[in-house]
């Protein structure tokens, strides 16, 4: 079975310079915003904003835009494919939020014992849960589509 996860550095060339600046600015702004909320309303409310999907808005929009641009270059209508690409990103984010939960839980359990250990183990938990969830979902989808592929082709109507 071929490796299901690939690295494609050419994707970086699809991005425009201002898109990287937008993401940097949004990331910085989200971090400052979380800090401001924490200092104004306390750590408990501020903690909620560590999972605010501010960056996701930019990522999904850029993915849709790149897909539309790629299809236009191939003289295809790309709007629907762009939406579906952004939807796939959102599906990945559902799994990612499970791993974010694992990160927060491990950090919560360990931070009062060791800060470096809390960051290290929480990051490992994030990677482990994210990869496992993605592989389980992939296996589930492969298993679900297998009977359809093995069934005989439908006869063509005259």
């Amino acid at each position: 079975m071929s490796a299901p996860i690939r690295v494609s550095l050419s994707s970086l060339r699809e991005g425009r310079w201002y898109e990287y600046i937008i993401r940097f600015a949004l990331g910085g702004a989200a971090t400052v915003f979380a800090g401001l909320i924490s200092s104004r309303y306390g750590a408990s409310v501020g903690g909620l904003f560590l999972a605010l999907p501010a960056i996701f808005c930019a990522s999904a929009t850029l993915i849709e835009k790149h897909e539309i641009r790629r299809n236009r270059e191939a003289e295809l209508r790309g709007e629907r494919r762009g939406q579906m690409a952004a939807a796939l990103d959102a599906a990945g984010a559902v799994l990612g939020s499970g791993s974010m939960f694992a990160f927060a839980m491990v950090f919560w359990l360990l931070v009062e014992r060791t800060l470096v250990g809390a960051f290290a183990v929480a990051s490992l938990a994030w990677v482990a849960v994210a990869m496992s969830a993605w592989f389980v979902r992939r296996q589930f989808r492969v298993a679900r589509s297998a009977p359809r592929r093995s069934s005989p082709p439908m006869p063509r109507l005259p």
């Binding site: 994707s11 940097f24 800090g35 808005c57 993915i63 990945g92």
Partner: protein, 115 residues
């Protein structure tokens, strides 16, 4: 003031790094995992613990668990808007922020407002 400049620079750098990692990885559903990476948390929790102590960081991480559940609900909602309602990504992701706020604060109040 300088604290917020540091937050901005660190947050921007960490978020950009995760976003670029998401860009180069294929397939898209795998790259989407990085859309929900704890990038803001990585930039914030270290500064929070340094300034206010480990107990403060633990409270933030406790609430972050609730935020992560809200993020899952938000992502499912965005997915449905894109696939079923055929909305474009920008309006779908921005209007769904309301869902995140409702879920996050609803769960936060249900948990007693303090984790």
């Amino acid at each position: 003031m300088s604290e917020y400049v540091i937050r901005f620079l660190v947050g921007g750098a960490v978020v950009s790094a995760f976003a670029m990692l998401g860009d180069v990885l294929k397939p898209k559903s795998f790259a989407g995992l990085f859309g929900a990476a704890p990038s803001v948390a990585l930039a914030t929790l270290g500064i929070a613990v340094y300034q206010h102590g480990a107990g403060y960081g633990a409270v933030q991480a406790g609430s972050m668990m609730i935020g992560a559940i809200a993020l899952a609900i938000y992502s499912v909602f965005v997915c449905q808007l894109l696939v079923r309602a055929r909305m474009r990504a920008l309006p779908a992701t921005i209007t769904s922020i309301v869902v995140w706020f409702a879920a996050a604060f609803g769960l936060w109040f249900a948990a007693g407002g303090q984790v």
